[in-house]
Amino acid sequence: MNAGKEPQNWLMYSGDYTGRRYSTLHEIDAANAGKLTPKWVYQTMAGGKFETTPLVVDGILYGTGQDDRAFALDARTGRPIWQYQRGLPGDIRPCCGRVNRGLAILGDKVFMGTLDSHVIALDTKTGNVLWDVSAVDYTKGYSFTLAPLVIKSLVLVGVSGGEYGIRGFIDAYDANTGEKKWRFYTIPGPGEPGNESWEGESWKIGGSPAWITGTYDAETNTTFWTTGNPSPSNRGEGRAGDNLYSNSLLALDPDTGKLKWHFQFTQHDEHDYDATQVPVMVDDGGKKLILQANRNGFFYVIDRTNGKLIRAESYAKVSWAKEKDANGRPVPAKEGLPTLEGNKVCPGAAGATNWMSPTYDQQTKLFYVTAREQCDIFSTAPQPYDAGHAYYGSAYFPNDDAAPFYGALRALDPNTGKIKWEWKHPSPTWSGVLSTAGGLVFTGDAEGNFIALDAASGKALWHFQCGASIYSSPMTYAIAGKQYVAVAAGSSLFTFGLP
C-alpha cells in the first residue's frame, strides 16, 4: 500500500505507514479555512465514546462505532451502503467504554478487532462476514479496540486489557483466511530474555497490552508497536523489576513477529503511563527517527534503526521523574510513587497525552500533540489477582486543588524538544490532530469544538461546535478534487468542506 500515491484516499488508521497523520491535500488552506461548512453528518445512534478514524477508498468511507458497529458510506453524501453490528456477549470486559477506533483494509476486505477479542473480515461491498476468528478468551479481560494494521498479506492487531492482569500480545492473521500466522507476547516467557525483569510468576498476569495501531518501515521491513502498563497498574509490589516489555516501543519483523529491539519508556511503572501513542516515523536529513510524545510527559526522539534514545524532553508538567539515567531515560523518583493514602503526581492518570494521535507536518517539520495538563492523587493498595476481574492495585483521584487543569495543542520542534507554539483548551481534550499541506492543523476539544489552526502560528482560523466532546483523531480525503475533513464526535461523524 502506498498512501503517498493516492492522497485522495485515507488507507489506514494514521493515513499512511509512517503514522504522521499528514495529508498532501491542499484545496483547503489557511486562506480559505474560515469558509469551511458542514457537508454531511452520519449518526450511529449509539451512546458512549465515538473514537473511529474512518478510512476512505475511492469514494467509499469505512468506519466503526460504539458497541462494535461498522459501516460503509458514500463519502460524498454520507448515505449508508451497509451497516454491521456485532452481537456482543453480555460478559465482555472492556475497561474504558465499548469503543472501537477503526478498520484496516486490503482488497475486498475490511478488518476489525472486536470487544469479545475476535478478529473479523467484512466484505467491503456488502458488510458480510468473510471470516471470524477468536484470538483469546475474552472473559479473562482481553478485548480489541484498535484499528488493525495490514502489512503485505497480514492483519496485525494488539490486545487491550491492562486493567485485568492479562498477558499482552500482538497477533498476525492471514488476510485471506484468518489463519493465525504468529503471536508476539509483549511479556517474555521463562527462558526468554526479559522474563527476569518480573518477580516470580508476575509475568503471567503482567498486562502490557498493545492497544494502539503500529507503524511500518518498508525499507527495513520493520513494524513498530507500543505497549501499555504493567498490571496491576497502581502497584509495583509483587512485580519487582523493569517489567519488560511494558510501556515500550517494539521493533518487530512483520513476517515472523520476531523482536529486533525494544526501548522502554517507563520502567516498573506505577502510574498507568501507557506508551500506547502512535510511534511516528520521521526522516530528518540522514537520520531515521521515531518520535513519541509519551503519556508520561516526555517527548522522545529515538533512532529507529537501533532503538537508541536521542533525546527526551518534557512537554508537560512532570513530577514522577526528577532525573535521567546514563542513557538519557527519565527514571521514576521516590517522591512520585503512589502511597496508601494518596500522593499528588503529574501527569495525572490519563497522562500528559493518551491514545489520541499526534501529527507530524512535513512542511513545518513540527510535531503537534494534544497535551493534558492535569495532576492526580495516586494511591496504592495490595490486591489479589482474580481472573477476569479488574486488577488495579487501588486507584487515583482528581487533585482537589484543581490546578493545573487544562489542555493544549502543542507544536514541538523535534530538533530541540522545545514548544514552538500552543493553543490552549479550557480543559484537557481527547482529540487527536491532523495536519495538511494546506498549512493547517485540525483538532478538537472536550467542549465540542472542531478547530482549524494555522500550522505555522497556532492561530485558530475556524471552528465548529459539534455538540459533544471529541474523542477521536480527524482525517481528510478528496472526491473528484474536492477535499473533505472528517471527525467523529458524540454519536455523529461530521464532514466539512469548502462551499
Binding site: 494511591s379 488495579y392 487501588s394 483548551h425 479550557p426 466532546s469
Partner: protein, 285 residues
Amino acid sequence: MNVRPRIFFGFDFAVVILVCLVTASSGAAQAKNPYAGDAKVAKLGEFEFRANCAFCHGLGARGGGRGPDLTRTPKKHGDSDADIFNTINNGVPGTAMPPNGATQQGVGMTEEELWQVVTYIRSVEKKASTVSGDANHGRELYYGSAACGTCHMFKGKGGRLGPDLTGAGTARSTEYLTESLRKPSRRLAQGIIEAMKEFTEEYETVNVVTNDGTKYQGTLLNEDSFTIQFMDMREQVHSFDKASLKSLQKSRESLMPAYDEKVLPDKDLQDVLAFLVGGGQGGVK
C-alpha cells in the same frame, strides 16, 4: 485504563446501563447479603471500592469532592443491604452517582463484587449522626439574617447564583459543608449535588466588561474556547463571544461571602447544618 471524562460526563451513562444489566444481571438483588459481617469479604470490597468508588467518595468512603460520606447512617436511598446494593447497581438517576460499570474508571462489578462492596461500606459505617443543631433555627437563619436563601435554592425556594442545596446535606460531609461556609474559596462547588448535567463546571467567578463598557459579575455556567455563558448577580443569563469583550476575568475567589465566627457563630453554624442535613424537615412546621 485510559479515560476519565469531565465535560459531557453524563453522555457516557446512557450506553452503559446496558453493561450494568449484564454485569450484575438481577436488577433487584436478593434481599440478604450473603457475606454480612465477614471481615475478609469487607477487605475484598475495599479493593473494589478503591478502584471504582473512591474517585468520588474518597478513601475510606469518608466523602470526597464529588460524592457523599458513606460512613454515615442511615442512607438516604434506603438503608438495608439490598437497598444499598440496588443504589450501587442502578446509580442515582439525575445525580453524579453512576450505575454499575458506568464510571469509565473501573469496570462493571459482578453481583458477588457488589456484595463485597456493600459489606465493606457496612464495615466502615459510624452509627451516630454528628449534627446536633436546632434545624428550626437553622431554617430561620437560612432565609433570614444569614441570607443563604438569596443565593441558594432549597426545595424550590431561594436564589440561583450558587448551587441548589436541597441535596447538599446528604451528598456532602459536615466537614465539607463547614469548610464551604467558613472558607468558600478553598474549594469551589462543582455542581454535582444538582441534577446531573452532561458537563460539570465549577462555580468560578466571572468579571466581564463588554465593548460598550457594561460591567457584569457572576458565576460561570459554561464556556468553551470561543464563548462564555454566565449568570450575573441579578440572575440574568448571558452569553458572549470572548473575542467581542473588552475584558474577561475568571477567578477562583468565590462570590459567596466567607461566614467567619463573628458573622455566624459555631452554634448558628450547627443550626444551619442541622437544617441542611435534616433535609429541611425540622424547619417545616
